[in-house]
Structure formats: C-alpha cells, structure tokens
C-alpha cells in the first residue's frame, strides 16, 4: 500500500531532525517505486499517459503487432496463377512461381490473440458435366494458413494450430478434416476459407437435368483466430495454401464408430476431373497480435 499514514506533530513537543526527516522520507518512499491505485484518482490515466509510439500510436496495451501485405500475384486485376487438384495444398506463388508469404517476425506470447485475415479473388474451371454432377453440388476448394515458427529463412512451414492439411485418414484411403470441431492441433479447419468448385441449377423443365456453372469471378474470405495458451512463440511468417477438390460428407472415423461432418478430399468424377483448376488472383493478408486482457 502506498498511502502515507504518519501522524501529525503535537504542539509543545520537542522535535528532532530525524522526526522531520522521517516525514519527508515517507513521501520519498511512496513516490520512488510504490505509487499505485491508492495514490491516483479515478479516471486519472488518459491517452496522454499511455506510452504510445509516435508513428503509429501503438502502446502495447491492446495491440502488440499489426502486419499486412500481398500474397500470391501482383496487386492488379489480371495477374493470376492456376492451381491444379491437390490433397494437402499448394502454397500461393507469384507470377514467376516463387512461393509467397507475409513476413511477421513477432512474438505471440501466452494468452495473446492472433487474428489473421486474408481475402482475394478466384475463378474455377471444370469439365464435370450434368451427367455426373450429382450429390448436391458440394464440391469445393479450400484455402488455409501455414506459419513458420522455426526461423526467418521461411523454409519450415506447418499448418497453424487447429488446422489440418487433409493428411488425416478417416477411413480406408479417404482423407478429411472435421468441420465442426477441432480434434487436435493438426486436425480441424480453423483457418479454412471455402469456395465452391461449381454449382448446378435445375433446368426446371421437368427433365431433372441440371446445368453446371462455375463462378467466373469469386471472392475468398479467410479468417483465423487463435488464443495462445502455450509458451510464447515467434511467428516468422504466414502464408496461404490452396487445396482441393473436397466434398462435404457425413462419415465414420477409421475405427468405424464416431460419425461427424468432414470435408473430404475426392477424385470422384462426380465432383472433379483431373484437369480442373482454380485460378487465384492477388490476395491481401493482415495479421494482428493483440492482448486478451
């Protein structure tokens, strides 16, 4: 406690220098290192008192780090790269084929919240026809996040926590990620953004036939939240990968017991042909590390 609680002098008593010095020593003790809530008034701390940086106003009280930048091709309307089918994903590259990433170089401390946003434009192509485009049009591509927490060379990429890479085999030769829960740090879709591979429209002519369409221009909006409950970790970089084609299924796990919803990688021609692609234009990414308390 930093309250000064000494008593007053009494008239008529003899003072010594140490008596008086002690009075001021009490004040010195409080103001040297012990000022706390007992000393300040309510509402006494204002913006001016925050230890903020001149250029960005960041005080570290809420915001720890904010980084943003381009992923993939140049930031224009036409540059894009075509990606083929892939179960475990392909990193987004620039026009010359070089992998791209957002350099972060920031520490995610225990209890800090990592927020990552990425968005961009895509278009898909398919040769799937009406005759085999069945099963409720649930064919899609997925984008998800990887991070490098090893070193600044950005050569050691792994999926971010609570995100799988479709290497999880649920049964037989079928690989999938659960969509409704996080089964483990490497088994989930926490950072995944989904875009449809194609969509079908009933001709409504009584024939039961459908037309197959792809979205010539489509958006992808990815979001990732992660509260670090473990030891502090340095995030050197973040990048986006794209994989597919996946489909929604209601499936048992490998032991044939638990059943849940998955996004499952598929090569069935009901959903995808080997030559199908997704073209990805420029993507913007921002990463925020902030305090949770």
């Amino acid at each position: 406690m930093s309250t000064i609680s000494n008593s007053s002098f009494i008239g008529g008593e003899t003072l010594t220098t140490s008596d008086i010095n002690q009075k001021f020593q009490d004040i010195a003790d409080v103001t040297t290192a012990d000022i706390n809530a007992d000393n300040v008034r309510d509402q006494s701390i204002d913006l001016a008192q925050m230890e903020s940086q001149t250029l960005n106003g960041k005080s570290g009280i809420q915001l720890v780090t904010l980084k943003y930048g381009d992923i993939g091709t140049d930031n224009d309307l036409i540059s894009n790269v075509a990606y083929g089918v892939s179960r475990t994903g392909t990193p987004l590259v620039d026009a010359s084929g070089t992998n791209t990433a957002l350099v972060v170089n920031a520490t995610l401390n225990t209890d800090d919240l990592l927020r990552v946003y990425y968005s961009g434009r895509v278009k898909t192509s398919t040769t799937v026809t009406d005759s085999n485009s069945t099963h409720e049009s649930n064919a899609c591509w997925c984008f998800w996040l990887q991070w490098d927490i090893t070193d600044a060379t950005l050569t050691n990429w792994t999926e971010v926590p609570n995100q799988g890479d479709w290497s999880n085999q649920i049964t037989g030769s079928r690989y999938a990620e659960p969509t409704d829960v996080v089964l483990s740090a490497t088994n989930g879709i926490a950072s995944t953004a989904i875009v449809p591979h194609f969509f079908t429209v009933d001709r409504n002519d009584g024939s039961g036939n459908h037309d197959v369409f792809t979205h010539e221009k489509n958006n992808v909006n990815g979001t990732y939240y992660y509260v670090n409950t473990k030891a502090s970790v340095t995030i050197y970089g973040l990048r986006v990968v794209v994989g597919g084609v996946y489909r929604g299924v209601w499936e048992q796990n490998s032991s044939g017991t638990t059943r849940r919803n998955y996004l499952e990688y598929t090569t069935s021609t009901d959903y995808v042909e080997p030559s199908d692609t997704i073209n990805v234009f420029n993507m913007q990414m921002s990463a925020i590390i902030q305090r949770t308390d």
Binding site: I10, D46, Q49, T134, D180, V249
Partner: protein
C-alpha cells in the same frame, strides 16, 4: 489534482506544529489519492502498470457448427453433410447453438466478428435459388445481418461494433432462408459450420 494551497514559513519566523502539519498534510493528501491526469507524466503507462482487463476483454469461441434442427443420415457413408433437412425447417429465423457469453463487462464498446462457412443445397432447389440470411444478436437484439447468400459454399465474416452495458452480455446467431423451393422433405438444405465468434470489448 489537489493544489498546494498553504503558505511557506517566513524567514526567521518560528514554525508552529500546526503550521507545519497543515502544509505537510496538504502535500501528503496529494499523494494519498489525489494524483490525476494533470499531475501524471505523459507516455509512462504501459502493460506493466495495468491489471488484467483494466481496459479491455478479448475472447474467441471454439470452432463449432450449428446442430439445431439437424438431421443426420444413417448408414455407413454419406456424400453430403449431416445438416438441416427440408422437413425440419418451417420458415422464419431459426436459432443456432452458436453463442458467446461475455462476463464481467464494463460499460463500453464491443467489437464482434462472426466467421464461418456454410453449405446450401442448390442442386435440389427446383423452383427458386435458395437464399440464406445470417444475423448476429446481442442480448436478443439484432446488431448485424448479412445475405441473401446463394452460393453452394461460402466462407463469411460479419463484423459489428456496438455499445455494451456493464455485467454479462450474450451473443447469439440466427439464420433463415427463402420459401418453398420444392425440395423433397428429406433433402439436406443448409449447413452452418466452422463458426467462431471473436469479441473485443473495450471500456476505456
């Protein structure tokens, strides 16, 4: 800040105890709860000076999915999600089990984000394109909405900023879709999955 209002002893004057006490107590009172923004230096306050949740509260929910009114196929394997079937949905806004409770709030502003993905069965929609709306509610009152969505798959992020009161605040999520699209009663029609709420409440 308490002002120094007492006079100083004059040269060669005899200092009385009461005179000293008045001056000293004024000085002491400034430090005993009288320091304020006019007395405190600029640019000194950082995380080390603040207790947890002094200024804000940030939290996010676990990954989840709407499992209200959800029928799940039987059998060994099914090539669509276990999700809302047409026979289960009777129109209007339908609630979900996706929510977030923010406890020990103070009066301030809440920034909230709802992110997730959905699947709409357009393949079986025979008469119209199925259209879906999603809304976010704070303590039962709508604060943000989005849609109509029509793509068979889509990932979304809905953001709102709204004043909050002290105490506990509750966020909930609803969805709805348009009318009869001539589905068969057992057709899967809609699945909301991979959903998380992220809230940053600030009171200073």
């Amino acid at each position: 800040m308490k002002e120094w209002t007492q006079g100083f002893p004059q040269n060669n004057a005899l200092v009385q105890a009461e005179q000293f006490n008045d001056e000293y107590d004024t000085h002491k009172g400034t430090f005993n709860g009288g320091l304020d923004r006019t007395a405190l230096n600029d640019d000194w306050c950082n995380r080390t000076h603040l207790k947890n949740n002094a200024l804000l509260l940030a939290d996010t929910t676990a990954l989840t999915a709407n499992d209200n009114f959800v029928s799940q196929p039987s059998g060994s394997s099914y090539a669509y999600f276990g999700c809302v079937q047409y026979s289960e949905y009777s129109g209007g806004w339908a609630s979900t089990n996706i929510d977030q409770t923010l406890s020990d709030c103070h009066e301030g502003m809440l920034h909230v984000e709802l992110k997730g993905s959905f699947y709409i069965n357009q393949h079986e929609a025979k008469t119209n394109t199925t259209q879906v709306k999603i809304r976010l509610k704070l303590n039962g009152l709508r604060i943000a909405g989005a849609g109509y969505f029509v793509q068979p798959f889509m990932s979304f992020r809905i953001t709102a900023d709204v004043p909050i009161t002290a105490g506990t605040n509750e966020l909930t999520v609803d969805w709805r879709m348009n009318g009869n699209n001539n589905y068969a009663t057992s057709d899967p029609i809609f699945h909301l999955f991979g959903v998380q709420l992220m809230s940053v409440a600030r009171w200073r």
